[in-house]
Each structure stands twice: as structure tokens, then as C-alpha cells.
Symmetry: C2
Subunit: 165 residues, 2 copies
Amino acid sequence: MTRHSNHSNPGFKAFEQELEVVKNKLTEFLEEHNQRKTPERYAILEEIYKIDEHFDIDFLYKLFKQRQFQVSKATIYNTLELLLEAGLVRKHQFGKIQAFYEKSFFNKNHDHIIMLDDFQIIEFCDPRIEQIKNDFETAMDIEIESHTLYFYARKNKSKKSSKNK
Amino acid sequence: MTRHSNHSNPGFKAFEQELEVVKNKLTEFLEEHNQRKTPERYAILEEIYKIDEHFDIDFLYKLFKQRQFQVSKATIYNTLELLLEAGLVRKHQFGKIQAFYEKSFFNKNHDHIIMLDDFQIIEFCDPRIEQIKNDFETAMDIEIESHTLYFYARKNKSKKSSKNK
DNA sequence: CTCAATGCAAATCATTTGCACACCC
DNA sequence: GGGTGTGCAAATGATTTGCATTGAG
């Protein structure tokens, strides 16, 4: 179980390598789909992969405004849509109107516990989900392309709450 | 596994009883919270419990407009919020901007398969989910108040697709 | 009667769209 | 150069809000 930390490899070199791979993935995708390799797209991808949490469009937008880099919201929306198709980000709706995103290439197949006390998001992975998926796929003759599972939870105050983990 | 059918008991008497119980639930909730028992609230509740599918606000609104009953959208939003707190409806976001709802008192604990071909919604229930929940509750010392699980799937065209079920 | 609920319309907020311009190919 | 991607602002669409009016308690 990880908490807001996706590149568990310590050190910046690991991050650089990760970024490199992801950029290549994007290049690959753009070439396959005959789309242009614009600086905005790579900048957005890079920025996203620096973020270890879940973020929304506005967060990204403000990030770029802080730095010298100029990107419009429309472009951010477009690019995230593109990265979504490329499988490089994941989109969440969390019951809110506003969508949340997270990078996805290096942390596939995980689900989320939303802590209702402080809206902390905890990631987890449980193989039983895959089993359930597989069972339904064969039982119903369907292909499950993706899934989302959210647990909405609160800290247990009744017991001695050992600082969790 | 049920498909868009929640009061599996056949016959209308069963439905009437169901409605009765749900209305009492609402009354109970309103009294507990010192809220008024307006006709709109009961009308909306009743309408919702006649619906065996997932619906959105606009669907409800048009339903009332068709009949002679006058309810504003603001009231529908307010009332659904209230019914949500009362545990009498469930809200979904399905990755869309627009929220979907469904009645909830008589069909607790089920999850959804969203068919991407035709956006049909299939409900299912798998005890393993509860197990996973319980495991996390004890392991992390939290209380999981609720959860949402969606499988996004497509019909398998490759194999001989026996008309599912 | 009083105050919470309703109805209506205007406001808000996330997201989408249209169009002129820029720049990747 | 040509056409796609970007930036901006306006449009859209779901939801929320403000306020006058209504009606439940």
C-alpha cells in the first residue's frame, strides 16, 4: 500500500528515467495517431509526472501560470484527453463535479480509499479485484476494459488508533 | 445478478408495501432532523421508487412536467440531496459530468457493470467485495462507510456470444 | 403567524466550442 | 505552405444561489 508516492524508487535518476520512458510512450502514441509533437503536450506530460498526487485541471493551469510557461485551459483539457487515450493518465470523478487526474503509466491497477475526515487519498491494490473481474468476463462473455473502486472511510476513533502504518 | 429490476417480488402489492416502508423511513428522517413533510418530498420519493433504472435530474423533472405535478428543478436537487442523506437514494457519477441516481433502500450493496457498447447498466453483487472491505477495515483501523465499484466492459465479439443469460 | 421550502431566474463553475493565429510536419 | 493545435473568449450545461412567495407546523 502506498500513500501519495508513486515512484517508489528513491533518487532523481530514477525519476529522470521514468520521465524518459513516458515521453517516448507519448511520442510513440502521437506518431501512431498522426498527431503533432507540440511542446505543450510534452510540457504537460512532464508536469504531470512530477506530481505525486491527484490533481485537477485548475491545479495544472495555475502551475503553468506560476512558471513562465503559457498554456491555455482549453489546451490542458485537450491534452489530458489525449494522454487519457494514450493511457498515460487516469481520470477520476470521486463523486465531485470536477474531475481529478493522476499519472498512470507507472502505477497501473490500483484502487483508492478516500478518507472522509481529511480527504486524503490512499492507494491500494488487491488481487481479488482481478479475480472478480476475470470471473465476470468469462461468466458473461464480456471484456472488462477498466474498473474503478473507491472505498469511502473514516478513521476509527473507538479503538486505540495506532498511527496507521 | 439483476438487470434493471430491483423489486424482484412480483405483484403490485409488494410494491405498495415497499413504498409504504420507504415513506415511513422518510417521515422518520424528517422528524429526526426537524424538517418539514412537504408533498413535493413525498411525491419525489414515490416517483423515484417507481423507477427501476438509473435516472438523472432532468429525467425526474420531465416526469413531473408530463404529469400535472409541478416541481422545480431546484427542489428536485434539494430533495435528492435530502434523500441521499436519508439513505433512500444513491448517487453515481459514472465518469460523466451529469450525476445519476437510483433508489437504494431495497437494493443495498450492489455494484455496476457499465456496458460501453450501449451504456446499459448491469447490477451485480459479489461477496468478495465485502471481504476486501473487512480486511482493510481491520488492517488499517478505519471504518469503510461505503464503496463504489464500476466495471467498464464491452460485449465480447470474438467468441460465439451466447445471448448473455 | 413564523420560518423553512418552494419556484423562478440569475449566478456559478467545469468543460466545450468557434474561430483566428501560430507552428509542426 | 497546409492543416492541425493552440489561445482566447464566448457558449454550454449541470448545479447552486438569491429572493420573493407559499404553506407546514
